[in-house]
Amino acid sequence: MSSTAVASGKVEYTDSENRNALFAVKAHLIAGLSVFLLMMLGGLTMRAAQGTWIEIGVDLFYQIMTVHGVGVVGAAMIASTGVQWHFLRKYVRLSNAIFWTNFFIFLTGVVMILGSIFLGGYGGAWTFLYPLPAISMGAWSTGAAAVFQLGLLIIGVGFLILYLDFGRAILARYGSLARSLGLTMLFGKEPVDPAHPKAVVASTMVLIVNFLGIAAGAVVLVMGLINLYNPEFQPDAMLMKNLIYFFGHVVINATIYASVIAVYELLPRYTGRPWKTNKVFLAAWFAIVFMVMGVYPHHLLMDFPMPAWAMITAQVLSFGSGIPVLVVTGYGALMLVYRSGIKWSTTTKLLFLSMFGWAAGVIPAILDAMVTINRVFHNTLWVPGHFHFYLLLGLLPMIIGFTYHLAGEGDRSEQPKATDSLGFYAYLIGAFMTSMVFLASGANSIPRRWAVHMEEWVTFAQVGTIAAALVVLGTLLFTLRAIFILPGAANPR
């Protein structure tokens, strides 16, 4: 088939375009990692405060919690977009200018958000749950809440622009998203092309869900803004909550699906084995489009006015959410690595770790999505426990692994240095402990989002602080590596 040959062919760019693109990807990674590092220091501070080792004001705690939440989500978005864009542009013609545009719009939004938090005192959490931003009881001004939401809105617009470019490029090459997602192959309209790029499949999924998620966010943010300045307009709080969590859940979830492209693209290189696209793979990615969008009501399991069918759907989907892609990816990765004589570099170690972290992190998540368990664990530290697990051990290893690849391991088969190994193990142990302490705290009914902990809980927070320090150490080593070595590294062939 001639179209198959076209479908697996690569896009040609000029040298200067390629140089600029590589520079842009590195800027995304460095920005993302630096923000992660800073936000982790914030996490460490929160833990130390809960553990009574340091004393900070309650308002400062909530400002840090807000900046931590919004900061890591933003960093995850910008860094995972860097990973995704780097690989996607090989298969469809993407615009460097648009990529940079989103980056600078993002930075603008970040400045606004930082201002709203640390100058304006906004501390209503990154989820800006209506009507909290409007009723701070003097802790922050209406203006601060508005600037925070405007900052988010601007960042959303930037990403929409980028996704329009993704969509344009994918449609130009494949004609429809159904085709780029592989539905035509899945349903037998076209023969299965084993070389159909996984980056394109994953990107199509991310494009669809994030587009809808951000569109919902754009509507709900403006409604919140109108309410701030026009308090007699009181939108339905349940509807607002639905839209906010749809937006929030989709956006943070999609970062994993964008970053996993690094696993698909890099493991075959390091093992020297091809990773073929087949129907199971396509079916998994097709299912995940709906799952990622359908599970968000697990955040609303305790809201009795919600219709029962939405809750049941959410619970059923949550059981399986992530599993299809996780299984095809994890199994595929194992098969690639098994007896391949792979040389373990920091890149491959991290990518492999990410499979474990993602898989294991899903288990507490599924537990919490069961109504009976949620009744007990809702709003306990169990929740931060599960998401720190797969974000720290699933998402970040993908991003950092890719960074190491770009920083030289991909090219000169550079050996990991002692500092890299130290970083890796500090990070691994610290991240695992951080998550487990959160989970254990949740199992002991310690609530989340409490600035001051009761005496019985303090030991948990103190162990958590030590764990956090290890994560910070590991991330510091990784980030230094990225900042000093990445800028000068050549493009791995």
Binding site: D165, G175, V219, P235
Partner: protein, 189 residues
């Protein structure tokens, strides 16, 4: 040539019919027809007129309309203005505002038709999205606001308009989805 003249006359006739009291008053009786029939039709008349402008006019305008930016800014300003409830109120109660409406809305149409094709495809996408989001936001607002926004229209009218806006926005979203997912085109553009 004959057809061309005819179409321009048709547009002019349509414009006059809209402006004459029977039609004008009929459409302005309700917020729904005012916002969803009269103003859009005026804009469409402008759009079609824009297509019919003589070539040398067009090329002169293009000099001032690099990438369609000037025209789009003008169009967006006019559109935003006529989305304000108080602007609609003024048009009903004072004849000079009404006159301004009958002049500026067709101008907006002309500006759109001259500028839209020049616009970068990504900018087109952003504007379409923003327009869609405006439909949804306004629809929601009209449904939920406890008070009338327009002094001249009833609350019930506002609610119906809200529902229609949400319905229209949803239909648009479905059409878009079909288009990008499966390449199905419901409306040819």
């Amino acid at each position: 040539m004959i057809i061309k003249v005819k179409q321009e006359w048709l547009l002019l006739t349509a414009f006059v019919v809209l402006a004459l009291p029977p039609m004008q008053q009929f459409l302005e009786q309700s917020m729904v027809t005012h916002m969803l029939v009269q103003i859009p039709v005026l804009a469409i008349i402008g759009w079609m007129l824009g297509k019919k402008l003589p070539e040398n006019w067009k090329s002169k305008i293009t000099l001032w309309n690099r990438w369609g930016i000037t025209g789009m800014v003008l169009a967006v300003i006019i559109m935003t203005y006529w989305m304000l409830p108080r602007a609609l109120d003024a048009a009903i109660s004072e004849w000079h505002f009404e006159l301004v409406k009958f002049v500026t809305v067709p101008i907006m149409g002309i500006a759109l038709s001259l500028s839209w094709p020049l616009l970068h495809p990504i900018a087109q996408g952003v504007l379409k999205l923003e327009f869609w989001a405006t439909f949804m936001r306004l629809g929601w607002l009209y449904l939920d606001l406890p008070d009338r926004l327009c002094a001249n229209y009833l609350l019930g009218d506002q609610r119906i308009l809200g529902q229609l806006l949400l319905l229209g926005g949803s239909a648009w979203a479905v059409a878009w989805t079909l288009r990008v997912m499966f390449g199905t085109r419901i409306v040819k553009t």
